[in-house]
Amino acid sequence: MELSQAEKQDLRVFLAAVYGPQVNNWRINASVFNHTYKMLYESKKCSDLVSLIPRPMTIGQAPIKYISKAARKLLLRKLKNNKQHYKLCVVTSALKAKSKIHMAAMGL
């Protein structure tokens, strides 16, 4: 279930576009991925990304457990390559998720 180094780097690049350079000091882990996915899902404006994951999100279930490795890799690569586009679709969701993502990245 753990993210590969390439996946961590893809996620880091996207989150740095959203939250700024402090992301470079973060510990990117499964919890950060879970909160990021929930942020994308809740925004309801990144539908092309969320549609990569056919199964609806279940409350209480960690996305990293049900998203296949291949879909996860594709999603993170798209996030990285189109970070300027996708950061605009999470504007208010990013504000709502900010503390959760920071805390996950700090191992809290």
Partner: protein, 169 residues
């Protein structure tokens, strides 16, 4: 013997009240937040994080350039935050900013749109809590700055924190 007794008694009085006394997070010259000592305190970017056994909260001074990704709210930040809670104020904002406030409002306010609004000294405090998400937000609007508190925990933790925002002497 007397001097040893004096030292022991002094140590008792020095140590015990400090352990029991609530701490204060001073956020401005006017406002402080009383809270019990946290298990962990962390600093990440603009956030100061206070972690307790079953809940946590973060504090940040709102930067109008960075509050919303890719949007500069400079000059409108107070009106923007007010309009997140009070629909009628959205009409005073540029249309796109009103829509942004509505979008954020829909994400943090419950279905009834209920929120708290209190005055502390010259500051206005807006707060909202979602039992479903176990998350609450408090915005403290001072004349020249805005503070954001994000509470991750039970409703009782949210209300306790709200009640412990105080005007400094």
């Amino acid at each position: 013997m007397k001097s040893i007794l004096f030292i022991v008694i002094s140590l008792f009085f020095i140590n015990s009240p400090a352990d029991l006394k609530a701490n204060e997070l001073i956020i401005s010259s006017e406002i402080a937040i009383k809270h019990l000592p946290a298990l962990q305190i962390a600093h990440s970017g603009e956030l100061v994080i206070f972690k307790y056994k079953n809940w946590s909260y973060t504090h940040e001074v709102v930067s109008p350039e960075n509050l919303i990704v890719s949007v500069d709210l400079t000059g409108f930040e107070h009106q923007f935050i007010k309009s997140v809670f009070e629909k009628k104020i959205r009409g005073e904002l540029p249309n796109w900013m009103g829509l942004l406030a509505e979008d954020f409002s829909n994400k943090i306010l419950n279905k009834n749109g209920s929120y708290q609004k209190i005055n502390i000294g010259n500051s206005i405090v807006y707060g909202t809590y979602s039992k479903e998400e176990q998350q609450g937000f408090i915005f403290i609007l001072e004349e020249r700055s805005i503070h954001k508190l994000d509470i991750l925990g039970a409703y009782k933790d949210y209300t306790a924190l709200t009640n412990n925002i105080i005007k400094r002497d």
